[in-house]
Amino acid sequence: MTDWKDLSGLQIDALREIGNIGAGNAATALAKLIQRKINMSVPRAGIMPFNKIFSLVGGEEEQVACVNFMVEGDAPAQILFVLSPKGAFSLVDMLTGQEVGSTRKLDDLGMSALQEAGNILTSSFVNAFADFTKLKFIPSVPAFAFDMVGAVISSALLEGGYFADDMLVIETQFSDEDILIESHFFLLPKVESLKKILQTLGVSD
């Protein structure tokens, strides 16, 4: 088993389930961070070819904010947290205590706020994964980009040494009463890591 394509339905379900738990954990962390009640939902999750993921955000030239983590440890992987500009701006407003809708472009302060939020969200996502699998994950200091989604995602994958054609995508929506933040987690374990993760879940071949 070396490829997403070879995964069974059961294995995909298991991965999707920890994805859900990870996203739930991230929502809790976000709620603490901005001191609001935050709901989380996972509208879609599954294996997707990378050339299809651009349509998730509306096309290759759409701008996105992307926090990019390399994860070392027992099962090296890469995690991307991707936000639409609208979601990114709302998040910056919430983090900096402004009325939502105030931020219309990203300055240095906004960017570092987002990077920090991405850091916290992704760490809690990884922690859920670690708890569940009992594997040790050590996330790197994240890198950040705000640019065309085609450029951002393809480069993140290639720079991370991820050359497979598919990835696990967990679409997440964070919302409170009147604000919806659309975002995606992309989970990209290295080949040998995927095997290890499935083993710890008891769903390896």
């Binding site: 050339n51 790197s140 200091v141 980009a145 640019d147 450029a151 951002v152 393809s154 480069s155 720079e159």
Partner: protein, 171 residues
């Protein structure tokens, strides 16, 4: 004639890890180049254009299983596209290349994530492949840390680069 006019405005999308050629006036467009490189080849006389969007420099580092799509690699895509253009009447002495992309989109604070330096390696490889084929580069917009869209007009060989927040650049 309506039909003919329509034809002249033809627009062809080149996806990621893809290439296309066009033997009549058209716009060849590829979106969102990051560390990937776009290679536009143009024969002015035969008015044939080709555009490739490669992701990685060198296919020889991968097993057969991982190189099912030759359009992904600079060393395979460029010769294949050139061959197709040649079959359609393009000739080497008239071919010029314009290239764009090869950016470094992320800077990792601890350098761990960016050791691969794919963007720069892609540009170096593309240039060496073009040189090996005997194709001169007449325009270039590479490097930096931003994404690019490439619009190649095969009617006159002009290539335009679109980026976020900057005016259109002609190369």
């Amino acid at each position: 004639m309506q039909g003919l006019k329509e034809n002249k405005k033809k627009e062809l999308r080149v996806g990621i890890a893809d290439w296309k050629i066009c033997c009549e006036p058209c716009d060849l467009i590829t979106l969102g180049l990051g560390s990937c490189v776009g290679i536009a080849l143009w024969d002015s006389e035969a008015a044939i254009g080709g555009l490739a969007h490669i992701m990685l420099p060198d296919s020889t580092q991968f097993s057969d299983k991982n190189r099912t799509n030759p359009a992904k690699f600079a060393d395979l895509a460029i010769p294949l596209m050139w061959e197709e253009m040649y079959k359609n009447g393009a000739r080497l002495k008239r071919i010029r290349a314009k290239i764009a992309g090869g950016a470094q989109m992320f800077l990792f604070p601890d350098k761990r994530g960016s050791v691969l330096n794919i963007g720069e390696r892609n540009v170096v490889k593309v240039k060496s492949i073009l040189k090996k084929l005997g194709i001169r580069i007449s325009g270039e917009d590479t490097g930096g840390n931003f994404g690019r869209t490439m619009i190649f007009k095969t009617v006159n060989g002009e290539v335009y680069i679109r980026t976020v927040g900057n005016p259109l650049l002609k190369i």
